[in-house]
């Protein structure tokens, strides 16, 4: 009876892999493991967390997922969450948890490691690496002199149907909210209507835009800077280059990936401390190709230094405040369903 053999094998296999799968919490020297929900991928932060375990002796259990889904999960779990720490890909998810009162305050010593604008105004999360909004373009199809010098110029008729955006992506939405925070919502409405009238191609995410640019499907697109760098790491010969808007008021934006604590504790604080250490910051710059936020650590090679990026001087609390209305405007422009 082959089916029965399969069944038995399956059940045995399942029983065999369950403990390894982690139903039994890994015990580190008698103390329970630190549970981390990570919206950042295992490829990027896995080695970092392993190093932390080895250095600190703190056992870490990581639950990887999409940032938004994990944030929604944390909001649903409430006080019952098994998580101690949340690693988020963007400030908006941390902001939502902060507004819901789910994050514990961080000690000033940790907050002060990064420039103030990259930490929570409430002091309950801290940025760990910077992600700049940028234009990725295909040098075989367009030169950098032909690219728009500001967000407003994306409405110029010569770009009609030739560029890509990802309106469903959190980074695009934060970018628009930052613009609204500086220029006001009327200006954002005008910007979005102009952009939408120019018929950009709408992609599912930043990666899809980079791929479309490299294939020559579009000339350029609005993305986060590191997506191109990662695509070049996969295929060094791909025709793609990075470009930042000229020093316009609100065209550039540096967003952050960051850390928040759901339960305060020595081990959790040590993890934050570790992620803001020079070693971890150098690792992030090298492996995730993001901007390190701690002073004295060099950014990835061939990248405009963070200080030279003309990012508008608005805090994330202001951006978060503008987000719902900006989203409405993105929907109203027809860019997002």
């Amino acid at each position: 009876m082959r089916p029965r053999t399969w069944l038995v094998a399956g059940v045995l296999a399942l029983a065999g892999c369950a403990p390894e799968g982690g139903e039994v919490p890994a015990q580190g020297a008698g103390s329970p493991a630190l549970v981390v929900y990570s919206g950042r991928s295992e490829r990027l932060v896995g080695p970092l967390l392993e190093r932390f375990q080895a250095e600190s002796g703190v056992a870490v259990k990581v639950r990887y997922g999409e940032t938004a889904e994990l944030a929604a999960t944390l909001l649903e779990e409430g006080e019952r969450t098994p998580a101690d720490v949340f690693l988020s890909q963007d400030a908006a998810a941390l902001g939502a948890l902060s507004s819901a009162g789910r994050l514990r305050p961080l000690p000033e010593e940790l907050l002060a490691r990064v420039p103030r604008r990259f930490a929570s105004p409430r002091g309950d999360w801290v940025g760990e690496s910077g992600r700049a909004r940028a234009v990725v373009y295909n040098p075989e199809r367009v030169t950098d002199a032909e690219l728009p010098r500001s967000l407003e110029e994306t409405a110029a008729p010569r770009y009609r149907g030739r560029f890509g955006v990802a309106p469903a992506n959190a980074s695009f939405q934060a970018h628009m909210a930052a613009y609204a925070a500086v220029q006001g919502t009327d200006a954002l409405a005008r910007l979005l209507d102009g952009m939408a009238a120019n018929q950009p191609r709408r992609y599912a995410n930043n990666m899809a835009i980079v791929e479309a640019v490299v294939r020559g499907e579009i000339d350029w697109g609005l993305v986060n800077h590191y997506y191109l760098l990662r695509a070049l790491a996969e295929d060094a010969g791909a025709p793609g280059k990075l470009y930042f808007f000229a020093a316009g008021e609100a065209s550039n934006l540096v967003n952050v990936a960051g850390i928040g604590l759901l339960r305060d504790g020595l081990a959790a604080r040590r993890l934050v401390d570790f992620l803001l250490s020079p070693w971890a910051q150098e690792y992030l710059a090298r492996e995730t190709l993001e901007y390190p936020l701690v002073a004295g650590v060099a950014p990835p090679p061939n990248l405009v230094p963070l200080a030279e990026l003309a990012s508008p001087d608005v805090g994330f609390e202001k951006i978060a405040e503008m987000l719902p209305e900006s989203l409405e405007l993105i929907r109203a422009s027809g860019l997002l369903q």
Binding site: A9, L14, R43, E66, A72, E76, M207, R215, E234
Partner: protein, 540 residues
């Protein structure tokens, strides 16, 4: 619990009328299973409709109507095109004298093994305006291909080519169960080939056609990967966007109520069409003699080969290329052994559990003869239309609040799979039970067997190919499930699908190669063993 079952039985038998109608003894387990499978649906309705102003704000958007229209037009297109593909393909495999038909039979089902985001990724990188195909045609001056890989046509292609196997597999089983004597009689009576097909054959295939179409339709409704990559946003995309943008679970649930409404519409439509489907089979089918293809043999083989190259070969080549690139760079197969074992055992367990759960629902809904029985049979499908993230979050809420001991454990994950995939087992079983009828059992009972013994010894053996096919289907889709897996798995638990996701999320496609390849290989074995081989086994 026992009291609950007793109560349900009482209600069911009352509803079924006195004296208890045939099959009424299935009522309690059928109702219980349906209740369990509808847990996510109840959550969505409670959450979505609980706050009516919020519901109205989310749904009363001027774009909602267009969104629903777009979603429905995609569903209609995918079902229609799947029928066009699945009918001839299943006939060729089940009825024609096709060289190597078991291999063809397996290959034709394999597209279902590719997660839809890989399928759509392959479509746009291969057939997109500047995809691989365009690069090949560039020497002939083709600068840009037409946009067919994107928008409606792109979503239609990606979803049809990778979900038609639902229909195909059910139809192969149906063709094999079809008594060739019926067609032969019709032809002997002087009825032409086309009219025989339309008047005799298609009505016999109707249960399988309807069940398969329903699965394809529900798959399309709940898909996120293909529609977002091909840039044809449907309702599911809006639901994801609501979660993504403001972590707004209420707005997401409100939009999901629309999806539920569309599902109910589809179920009602299927029920209406299924009315009057009467089994005509009175004895086990005689083995059908394979139809010789004659001079069509080579053109048919060429067309089949082209189809298989496009829907299995191309995606497999892409995945193999990733794998090679990964290995050339000094990458290894990593810790995939554990992920493979986890994926396969979970999928096996889910497949078997789904068949066990589906059997009473199928039996009661086909035979109960009451409106409640029919309604139960339909409602059990609801979980299949909800996107994985909705099912996942519903169970996160339920378990983290009320069943903390189950939260982030394998049993809850399997339960999540079951709410989504039991309908896939149900479809095949219902079609099979419908075409078998109850004649044999009645004969058995008149000869003194108990109802249960008659069912177990007479009906079950006849449904065995359908049972195996149902398990095979569930196995395939469980293997590649991602969104609910990410939300419900025990912390640190990895499957092949989560491995693929880890790599593709950062665009590190080379690293996604090995787990994706294993995913397809792991799908091949059960499809062959459970679905194709039993369906094509020649009966004595």
């Amino acid at each position: 619990m026992i009291a609950m079952i007793a109560m349900i039985t009482m209600i069911a038998t009352t509803a079924a009328g006195r004296p208890p109608a045939r099959g009424a003894w299935w009522a309690a387990p059928a109702l219980l299973v349906t209740l369990l499978l509808n847990v996510p649906l109840v959550y969505v309705l409670a959450r979505g409709l609980g706050d009516l102003p919020a519901w109205a704000a989310a749904v009363g958007n001027h774009q909602t109507l267009a969104l629903v229209g777009r979603t429905l037009s995609l569903v209609a297109g995918v079902v229609a095109l799947s029928l066009v593909l699945a009918l001839p393909l299943s006939w060729l495999v089940a009825r024609a004298e096709l060289p190597g038909r078991r291999l063809w039979g397996t290959l034709l089902a394999l597209p279902l093994a590719f997660p839809s985001y890989i399928a759509a990724f392959v479509l746009v990188t291969f057939a997109g305006p500047r995809g691989r195909l365009q690069a090949w045609l560039a020497p002939w001056g083709v600068e840009r291909l037409p946009e067919f890989a994107y928008g409606y046509s792109g979503a239609l292609l990606a979803l049809t080519l990778f979900s038609y196997p639902y229909l195909y597999l059910l139809l192969v089983a149906a063709w094999r169960g079809l008594d060739p004597a019926l067609e032969e009689s019709s032809r002997t009576l002087g009825v032409g080939r086309a009219r025989t097909l339309a008047r005799v054959v298609l009505p016999e295939l109707r249960p399988a056609l309807l069940s398969g179409s329903l699965l394809v339709a529900l798959y399309t409704l709940s898909d996120f990967g293909a529609v977002s990559l091909t840039r044809f946003p449907t309702l599911t995309v809006s639901i994801y966007n609501a979660y993504r943008a403001l972590f707004d679970r209420t707005a997401a649930a409100a939009l999901a109520t629309l999806l539920v409404a569309l599902t109910l519409l589809l179920l009602a439509g299927e029920a209406r069409l299924a009315r009057g489907a009467r089994p005509t089979r009175t004895r086990p089918a005689a083995p059908s003699r394979p139809v010789p293809l004659g001079r069509w043999r080579w053109p048919v083989l060429a067309a089949l080969a082209l189809h298989v190259v496009l829907v299995v070969g191309v995606p497999l080549a892409v995945v193999a290329e990733w794998t090679l690139r990964h290995l050339r760079r000094g990458g290894d197969w990593g810790e995939l052994g554990a992920a493979l074992l986890a994926s396969v055992s979970l999928a096996l367990l889910t497949a078997l559990a789904a068949v066990v759960l589906a059997l009473p629902v199928a039996a009661w809904s086909v035979r109960g003869g009451t409106p409640l029985a029919r309604l139960t049979g339909r409602l059990a499908y609801s979980g299949h239309a909800l996107p994985g993230v909705v099912v996942g979050l519903a169970l996160v809420v339920l378990a983290s609040r009320h069943l903390p001991a189950l939260y982030q454990t394998l049993p809850l994950l399997v339960f999540g799979y079951l709410t989504r995939f039991t309908p896939e087992a149900l479809a095949g079983l219902r079609a099979s039970l419908q075409s078998i009828g109850t004649v044999f059992e009645e004969a058995g009972r008149s000869l003194g067997r108990s109802a249960w013994a008659a069912f177990a010894s007479l009906t079950v053996p006849l449904t065995r190919p359908a049972l195996a096919a149902a398990a095979g289907l569930v196995f395939l889709v469980t293997l590649k499930e991602l969104p609910a897996t990410l939300l419900l798995r025990p912390t640190g638990f990895e499957t092949l699908a989560t491995r693929v996701w880890t790599a593709t999320a950062d665009g590190a496609y080379a690293e996604a190669g090995p787990p994706a390849l294993l995913l397809v290989v792991a799908s091949f074995v059960p499809v062959y063993l459970w679905v194709v081989r039993p369906a094509l086994r020649d009966r004595p």
